[in-house]
Homo-oligomer: 200 residues x 4
DNA sequence: TATGAATGAGTTTTCATTCAT
DNA sequence: GATGAATGAAAACTCATTCAT
């Protein structure tokens, strides 16, 4: 007897709820301090249920890192067009977008920072993040190179510049640890833009 | 019976050894995964001895974070002169120095990143780091403002620029996770410099 | 709505399948290591269905031990005639038969050995086995006594001899743990016969 | 600072106590039903202490099976001389001895029976038992062959006879599950002797 | 001061059993 | 009747910390 649509829907919501709470707890308290019991309690399910949806704690962590990456983060961060007509406008809008994402996804990025910071401890999720960072940098290099060719940006080592830009995004996320940052995010696009060597 | 000088010296060395190994283990494996037994083994002492030198695990962590900060890190990072004669040279030398430190103190900075990334979990050591970052930024603002006044740097919001600079340093430390970075560190001073809005 | 004959038949087959797989798993892995989920999987049913046919795990174990006992084991082991004309032939054929059964029912006897070996843990199924062993020994005593009377066997304490004979059967089942035994079973009837004090 | 002799002695006694209680519990309740907590309670130590003396439950079980085997069982069972002057007396004394051991070591043998009965579950301890049984049978074959040569026993397949004898010992241990057996043990040497084909 | 045995709270995980669909 | 999601009790094992020697 297969499950009814309603049941499947309810289960999906439950899984999502567990994952969301796991992301928050993993981000704020770290891997070890986040107990399955805490996740269960925060999600309003019994702790046995967590194991219905995720094989074990490791898998839960893996999904907590990779699912937002693949569904939201990746898509949003790569949402710019290196072949746009007006590259200056495209770059500015890209920066706006990137900074907004790094501010909005504060909790998730805390998790990302942990995985990167202790990558030997989390090799599988780190691999996913690393792969994405390479893809992200490739696309950045593309838009930077095009912009340089069209004299929208000054000449620079595009690879280095792209890498510095990503480092900067991660760094400000780390530096501004709380909500306070949201009041100045408007400003952060200025140094971000500066890093790309704008024409004056 | 008072301890002889030799004994005191031996004890100090023992304490130092324990602290060094604790830093490495905390940095690479995180707070929870670092057990007192591991630290003791790595330091070549019995685990009971760890408690002779540090009240408990929490205190050991606290000292692992703050002692290098106060003895080395702070001194080295603040080793620049906002009133220097040749400010351009001073700034370039400062950047060289900062990047070198961030590369050399890779392990310690892994620890710093953890504390910042999970600051609610580690309020005391975070406070120390936060205090230092304020001090650091204040001094950066000073040199930037002076450099702007003397037309060595273009005008910019000095606070924002200083903060962006610190964020950049932390960010590249996070982005370049391994030794590979040492081969390109020479280059990283370029975007770091660019962040300060150099005159052209 | 009463069930059709076909349905009843199907259910009986399902129950039988579950029981057979339970016997194998209980025998090979023991009571605790045999999970309901494993039994269900081996039987090709959902684990909820196991509870449709057996009240709980305890009951499943009880039936796994007692059903083969009452349907096959008991009948086969008691299939000899203490009043047979040619008692020597009857005894030899009985021994052949017993050894064959102990070899063929290897898996089931692994289960029996567990119940006997840990009888305090399994009092109900042990009771059934114990009752049968008494019945078996009684009938053995009968044939032995008759054979002694008719000078087919030498005189001996019939009770002791019967008990020793049963012990021997269980013991060789335990001693020869694998299929290798099947190649020498032909021989095992020799010491079994010897235990009964044959006339020379 | 090395431990004092007194401490070492105390620790050895503690270890021994834990092992003894573990043997009893494993024998009576089986591997899974014997929890570390039960062993600790029965031994009068804290739960954590069991892990001070035995790496894990598996190791505890392994030692529970093999230590009595190597220190007592092996020595006692092999304590007969195939080259004795008066072989008939030697064999009778050997049988007396064997039966006495199988009765006295009732609890330990319950454990042995479990390991043999579920040898796939306990490969390491089973290996030790299996090795011993081979050694035991070899020595039995020796004494049987010598006795046959000296016309103390009738001719028979010595290998088969030795194996049957071991099977018988295990079997009666299994058949007589309680202390009741001690009242008839005097008698059991009769069928045991009979199994060796005594001259009449 | 140095050592490491002793302790037990806390964690992950398994699994029998219940029950809604 | 069949299914499998939900539950939580129970188990092995880890580890910070204490304290006797």
């Amino acid at each position: 007897m297969p499950l009814s649509d309603k049941q499947i829907k309810a289960m999906e919501q439950k899984r999502e709820k567990i994952l969301q709470q796991a992301i928050i707890l993993f981000a704020e308290q770290g891997y070890e301090s986040t107990t399955i019991a805490k996740v269960a309690k925060a999600s309003g399910v019994s702790f046995g249920s967590v194991f219905t949806y995720f094989e074990n704690k490791d898998q839960l962590f893996y999904h907590a890192v990779t699912e937002p990456l693949n569904t939201v983060f990746k898509v949003d961060l790569l949402d710019f067009d290196p072949e746009a007509e007006d590259l200056l406008a495209e770059i500015k809008s890209m920066i706006d977008n990137h900074i907004r994402i790094f501010i909005e996804m504060r909790t998730y990025l805390q998790l990302v920072v942990q995985v990167i910071g202790q990558h030997t401890k989390f090799p599988e999720p780190f691999k996913e993040l690393d792969d994405f960072s390479i893809e992200f940098i490739q696309k950045l290099i593309l838009i930077i190179t095009n912009a340089q060719r069209r004299c929208v940006l000054e000449d620079s080592d595009a690879d280095l510049t792209a890498t510095a830009y990503l480092g900067f995004l991660l760094g400000i996320r780390l530096t501004f640890t709380d909500y306070a940052v949201s009041r100045i995010w408007e400003k952060l696009k200025i140094p971000a833009f500066q890093l790309l060597y704008p024409k004056r």
